[in-house]
Amino acid sequence: MKNLAFATITQLQDLLKNKEISAQELLTFYLDRFAKYDPAIGAALDVFDKDSIIAAAAKSGELAGIPGLLKDIIAEKGRSLTCASKILEGYKATYDATSTARLKDAGAYIVGRANCDEFAMGSSNETSAYKKVKNPWDHERVAGGSSGGSIAAVAAGLVPWAIGTDTGSSIRQPAAFCGVVGLKPTYGLVSRYGVTAYASSLDCVSVTARTVKDTAKVLSVIAGKDPKDATSLATEKKDYAATLDGAIKKGLKIGVVDAALHAEGMDPEIVQAIETAIAELKKLGARIENVELPAFEYGAATYFILSRAEAASNLARFDGVRYGMRAKTDDLFDMYSDTRRDGFGAEVKRRILIGNYVLSAGHADAFYVNAKKVQQRMRQEFIETFKKYDLLVLPTTPMPAFKFGAFDTDRLQMDLQDYFTCPINIAGLPAISMPCGFTKNNLPIGFQIVGSHLSEELICQTAHAYEQVTPWHTMHPAQYAE
């Protein structure tokens, strides 16, 4: 059989349609790849058996027979849901998340649960209570996080698509680290129903694939209003892949956030790759101008406060009473606090403590209330900017994938990995991270294209046009080629 490891969804759909391969054979092919390669990568916490995968999916639909992976914070009925945490070990979801249900209805095969940072809190996948995800391009380096398993599986050709989430960087940063596409939609475009909450006002179900078209196809299945999530937006069902014709919008005006691109600490190889990408966009016909976003530099601080505050509230429900693990003690207070001591990892505990600190009496005004004010300013600044520009270009990360343990003694620097991505969540905007080159050490580089609220079509159209004139989406880690 032809090697389909890095085939696109469109190619696979053609093969299925022309009966050159059956959906079962296709599934077996990818399951074999998991068996062969994933022990070295650690992308999946669970790979399901073939029969149960097929039984869960509708027989026809937009993604019929196309295998993919779900991040282990998204519920699939009857399957384990651990959020890569010990506190939920053994817990099985009792219902489908809306995204899960829509993917199954579209005939997609959900082959397993993707590893991630514990409760999606981390930028390296090192906080997973089960195992680390290795970067398929260099096993000594992280895949990024928190959706590291989803991304690494796609980058290594174990599946053509995967679902992750993005609260501050979690689909875009690992996508940049592993050389694939990562799309964080507008807040509210995809339902959060059935997604374990980290920071509810920022969490976005997000898509990764190796091409923009594949990403758009998966987005088309999961996007749209859901009565079960009051924050989901009243949008019509749309085919986000339909408008991808290789051209960019006539007169497209792109703002380059120059202060970000040339920020202190930016890896010069990344700056160069993004400047080359900007030149490509210019060649495609875009008008490029530098743009200033003075509030942008407050994004990470705002994110640290809001995300930790919401996490502290959301994770209060894990108390040993109803599900997951429970510490053995005769005292109720000790039962709560020992369960949470033993069940949560260090990063999750730190974030809960910070969250309750910034919400506590005497500190809430200085931190939480002020962060909400800055959020308002940042949103307004983005809205004003998008009156003059169609899209913005930003780096995704200041550096390429780093080595395991690189930030063990400087956690703030780890948190600041989200510097270029989390302001986008603060403003609820859509953004895509696109591969745009490699460092001399053969590590992938990515950049972000950011749009106004609900501009996913324009973002995908532009990113797709860029992709058609660049080779990056055709390059895959050599050791997974066979």
């Binding site: 309750n356 600190y357 931190f367």
Partner: protein
């Protein structure tokens, strides 16, 4: 410079219902102080920003009854008796 005290860490940990080992406190003081010091910069920008009233709108849906079976969830409780969750005695555990 914000330097969170040991007492504050213990107080917040109690609010958070997370038991802390004595030997963790020092590194938590450092880690949390470092993040808060960085985060405190929001005060600069917020000083010139007047918070606008939030324009929230109610999202309603029909109040329809959907039958769900609670058993698969209750069956996963660490300790249960029929359809009840069992926890250590509440009244004798004041702390």
């Amino acid at each position: 410079m914000i330097k969170v005290s040991r007492e504050e860490i213990l107080y917040i940990a109690k609010l958070s219902r997370i038991a802390i080992h004595e030997d963790e406190i020092e590194s938590l003081v450092d880690d949390i102080s470092q993040v808060l010091n960085y985060a405190a910069r929001v005060q600069e920008l917020a000083a010139t920003e007047v918070q606008q009233p939030v324009k929230n709108i109610n999202i309603f849906r029909e109040d329809t009854i959907v039958q769900t079976d609670p058993q698969p969830l209750i069956a996963q409780a660490p300790q249960r008796e029929e359809q009840y969750y069992v926890v250590p005695a509440v009244l004798d555990s004041e702390k």
